[in-house]
């Protein structure tokens, strides 16, 4: 019918072959990503949409959900009688972050700086420091529960039985006192992630070109100078990476609170996600829990956007 097609001998020649080959590429490409697409739709997009819908409803998972518009969100923010722990749980999470972040940024940096000098046994120390990272959170919780036990715990035994230390510190029921429970959980968290942060710092340190140090050395700089003027500026992207991923991760802290304190004593360790968990699985307020998920998502998106905006993506910034 079409004269152009019939009149063109090229189309049946090498051009058609190329075209066929091109389409075969397309098909291969789509086949390779097909599982990802299915996975993405079923376990990311659709569930997110479902829970967005449910966040506008009141729903106890047994009866049918009733549409309440934005009421869940408004109530969480304003109705402290119905949802007394919303703001406190955010504040507790923030306090936890303010405690854990300085520890988990500075101590690993110090250790990475030491490991990056010519100390012997670097591999040994790296491995030793990383062991807590690969230990199940539940086993860590069990371990700390035992160590912190007021009567039989190693920590109090150490305090009791060591002269001088027992003058400086007193024994406590560490996880049962509002004053100490959250700080202790923060130290535990930092302990668990220390090895990972060291490795990231080491990677950052190894990426700094040696010439920078050599020329500084020629100029007569001492080690404090090189740390302040070369190492730290060059590590800026690494520090920000750890800061931002740490913030995002610590906003979701749950396991240790759930396992060790259950949010207590006196709700002093009730983190945001633990509170979310309680609303969903203890009070059966699915609508509220879905709203809380979206509030958490917004917080994390804001952190991520601030990250893109203010964090130097390259060292030259």
């Amino acid at each position: 019918m079409r004269p152009a097609a019939a009149a063109s001998p090229k189309r049946t020649g090498i051009f058609a072959l190329l075209k066929k080959e091109k389409y075969r590429e397309y098909i291969a490409g789509y086949l390779f990503i097909a599982p990802l697409i299915v996975y993405f739709i079923v376990f990311q997009i659709t569930p997110m949409a479902m829970s967005l819908l449910y966040s506008f409803t009141e729903w106890n998972m047994r009866t049918k959900p009733t549409f309440v518009g934005l009421r869940n969100y408004v109530d969480l923010f304003t109705n402290t009688l119905f949802y007394p722990m919303f703001w406190p749980s955010l504040w507790i999470t923030l306090k936890y972050i303010l405690m854990i972040t300085p520890i988990s940024l500075t101590i690993p940096l110090l250790l990475a700086l030491i490991l990056n000098t010519k100390v012997k046994g670097q591999a040994f120390f790296r491995t030793a420091f990383y062991i807590p990272v690969v230990t199940p959170g539940v086993a860590q919780a069990a371990l700390w529960k035992w160590i912190l036990d007021p009567k039989f715990g190693l920590l109090n035994a150490f305090i009791r039985n060591t002269p001088l230390i027992n003058r400086l510190f007193s024994t406590h029921s560490w996880l049962n006192e509002t004053r100490t429970a959250l700080p202790v959980l923060a130290v535990m968290g930092a302990w668990g992630g220390l090895g990972y942060n060291i490795l990231i710092y080491l990677a950052g340190l190894k990426a700094i070109p040696d010439e920078l140090y050599e020329s500084a050395y020629v100029d007569g700089a001492n080690s404090a100078n090189t740390l302040i003027h070369i190492t730290l500026p060059m590590l800026k992207p690494t520090i920000f990476f750890l800061l931002v991923t740490g913030l995002i991760g610590n906003f979701q802290v749950f396991d240790q609170m759930y396992l060790l304190t259950g949010g207590g004593p006196n709700d002093s360790t009730l983190s945001y996600v633990l509170s979310l968990y309680n609303h969903a699985f203890r009070y059966y307020e699915m609508g509220i829990a879905c709203s809380m998920s979206y509030i958490l998502l917004s917080i994390i998106l804001i952190i991520t956007l601030l990250n893109f905006k203010f964090v130097p993506q390259t060292i030259d910034d």
């Binding site: 390779f32 599982p35 079923v42 569930p47 120390f125 491995t127 539940v138 371990l143 220390l194 990677a203």
Partner: protein, 285 residues
């Protein structure tokens, strides 16, 4: 001259001192855990604990496994281990296959819409796991997987983050190798499985170990997705012991050794890959 040498020695000493103290703080608790698990109850609940317990009458150091026997009465470890291994092994192998296929397609195959799809996937990385907790639970209920092992498997058969990582690794493979294979008449599938995939073995091993660790350790998801004890994983079984508020430490401690030790051993075997994998990954990222 003598002075600076002394100072160097003092510096060295301080560095090693810090490293050794840190090692004790990081590893010491585990050593203490294992040592305590080998004591008899009365020595375990002592106010003046010593690393090794001695018999009262003979003064000899002893080792007992009775805490472990009791732990096995409390938790059905063979069942828990079986469940954990089924979930972790299926998830790890399927992840490795599907993530690397998708990563390869994004890195090397040209097809319309590729970069757009990739960007959408990248955006989804901002959604953290906890936010997906309830949405995924709703989905799992809709699909009828609630309270089954499938609930621990299907939501985790892929990982967008790992697809992204695999793409980075595939971009580093020289294109000339693939071209040579294609001139010889190999299709995309053969090129992928026989030429390209073996070249990124370190990435595959790292990702495999991490996926396995993650599945083994996962706690929050099984906690909400399972009711029946017959589907419990090791983490969940141990978790139920930690939370009851009891202080039957002899059971708790022996159980946590049973749960933690295999993973630590696995790490020690693969630690070279893991360490290099993290360091390479962070440099690229």
């Amino acid at each position: 001259m003598g002075y600076s040498r002394v100072r160097r020695h003092v510096n060295r000493f301080l560095l090693y001192f810090v490293l050794i103290v840190t090692t004790v703080v990081m590893v010491g608790p585990f050593v203490w855990l294992v040592l305590s698990s080998l004591k008899e109850k009365q020595d375990m609940y002592s106010i003046h604990p010593t690393p090794f317990a001695r018999r009262k009458d003979t003064g000899r150091i002893y080792v007992t496994f009775e805490n472990y026997t009791e732990a096995f009465d409390f938790l059905d470890f063979p069942l828990l281990a079986k469940n954990t291994l089924i979930v972790a092994i299926i998830n790890t192998s399927v992840n490795l296959l599907l993530n690397s296929m998708a990563g390869y397609a994004f890195a090397r195959i040209n097809f319309p819409g590729r970069d757009k799809i990739f960007k959408i996937m990248l955006m989804s990385l901002m959604v953290p796991a906890t936010v997906l907790l309830i949405p995924n639970l709703l989905m799992v209920k809709t699909l009828g997987m609630y309270n089954t092992k499938s609930a621990l498997i299907f939501p985790f058969v892929m990982s967008v983050y790992n697809v992204f990582m695999m793409r980075q690794f595939f971009m580093g493979v020289p294109a000339s190798l693939e071209e040579a294979a294609r001139v010889d008449g190999a299709g995309r599938f053969r090129t992928f499985f026989q030429i390209v995939l073996p070249l990124v073995r370190p990435a595959v091993v790292t990702q495999g170990v991490f996926t396995f660790l993650w599945n083994y350790n996962n706690f929050l998801w099984p906690l909400v997705a399972l009711i029946d004890k017959k589907n419990y994983t090791l983490a969940l079984g141990l978790g139920s012991l930690v939370t009851v508020g009891n202080t039957r430490y002899h059971v708790l401690i022996a159980s946590s050794v049973v749960v933690a030790l295999p993973l630590i051993v696995l790490f020690l075997i693969f630690q070279r890959y893991i360490v290099e994998g993290i360091m390479a990954g962070s440099l690229k990222g």
